[in-house]
Point group: D2
Chain length 150, copies 4
């Protein structure tokens, strides 16, 4: 039973914008790529078949708090944590750091669905071959709303 996963990502040129830093929307792409790499590490894929059905994971929610900018060619460390394993949904937390500097932290929540072509998408319990490998992390990444308002 695993509850966390580590990977890295190098910032590419089109990840940046005219402010010279990584565009905020790209962190959602980075989170997703880490989630998919996590699923591959469990021997499955975000897009798989099971009992003759096509299984997918549509998003319910996504969020990110931005702490420090990331720049071209930075190599970010990404820590994925299983925040919540529901009967049908999964919530992942993500921490982005560069060396010891916190860059961002985020969250993705997805629901397990049967996504057969030509049928309405419908939610389903997470199949055992996935659920049995994953457990919630004992220590959670805070899903805090960024407090830097003034």
């Amino acid at each position: 039973m695993v509850s966390e996963f580590y990977t890295t990502r190098r910032i590419e040129f089109p990840d940046t914008d005219m402010a010279g830093i990584v565009h905020f929307s790209r962190f959602f792409v980075f989170m997703e790529a880490a989630e998919h790499e996590f699923l591959r590490s469990l021997g499955t894929s975000v897009s798989t078949e099971w009992n003759g059905n096509k299984i997918g994971w549509p998003r319910l929610a996504a969020s990110c708090d931005y702490v420090s900018p990331a720049r071209f060619e930075d190599v970010l460390d990404i820590r994925l944590t299983v925040v919540r394993k529901g009967g049908k949904s999964m919530t992942y937390g993500f921490e982005f750091t560069r060396d010891e500097t916190e860059i961002a932290r985020g969250m993705l929540r997805s629901v397990c669905c049967i996504c057969n072509p030509g049928e309405a998408i419908r939610s389903m319990p997470i199949p055992d071959f996935i659920a049995d490998q994953i457990q919630e992390a004992p220590e959670q990444i805070e899903e805090g709303v960024n407090g830097a308002e003034s």
Copy 2:
């Protein structure tokens, strides 16, 4: 004093993914484009000069809840609402609908900064020529966390 803004966006081919629907990360691009169009409607830009300084709006936080999928060539109605006008930060809420169907709702929080090249970025009070045109919406879009877990 304005507190909301309406625009539309047509879904383009690369907004979609192999699931046949709009990729979740694209909603953050759509929110930003609506924010920038709102600022243009006030006679300014997200990237402007003021008192010899370059003003920018780095992101503090972004989030989105996904309700129904959007598809290629859909024209989404977008409603921007000023959720909070702080001394230095702005929080916008966004509602995406197609006809009467709710598609998604999201939030962007940004902080007003001096972003001169070669200097450290530092926050600053929102200049009057922007602040004086904007007020918080009386009725807020809920920033609710998506409750569809099970």
Copy 3:
């Protein structure tokens, strides 16, 4: 019978990169969006049904020559020209200008295909309801390779 089409596009923040200009890959997205708008102007879509088959237009080739940089919030004028109407393929030329300044020119070549789910993609003659509306432009946009080498 039409052989050209005009539209515009405003540059958005994530179209730019840390060089402060539009990332070169974005021009291919802009060309495609103009092509799709052209097809809508003919009463059809790049993704349509015909005789019970799903019709699509996979790419054969794409190219772009870059003349002058484009920047955030620029509004580019785009001229699409029908360079070649084959039996099964279409070649479009594109000219991007801002005021009188040439920004870029490009080319997309696509082949008309039956793209039914679960079947191999196979090319087909362009259906008459499309072919009968389009003719090759008498004066062609040069598909010149950029000569600025030294």
Copy 4:
């Protein structure tokens, strides 16, 4: 003196579109990432400083011919070849394959420039520390225009 470079790239979810395959515009991002990895392998970067000047490589031209579709989680082999080393410009060819299957081949042409903030961009001879490490490949990737018209 090197004239070619090999790398790989795994297809990510937002690289795909509703046709279920990689969007054609993404190959330009993949080519660029391979070019930048090649430059890092030479101990430099596409964004570097030299003699107190900021050096960049704006694009002159880009093209791609598409042979077979690529799909989610495919790992593509990418071969970069130095097609032409000019005094101020570089032309790279790219071949994408999956196992023995040809997926696409493309070309990028860039010009070496001084890109100091606040100054007009101007071309310059490729600095020796880069030029001295690179030579043209003896056997060239064909820059053929895709011949699949009919």
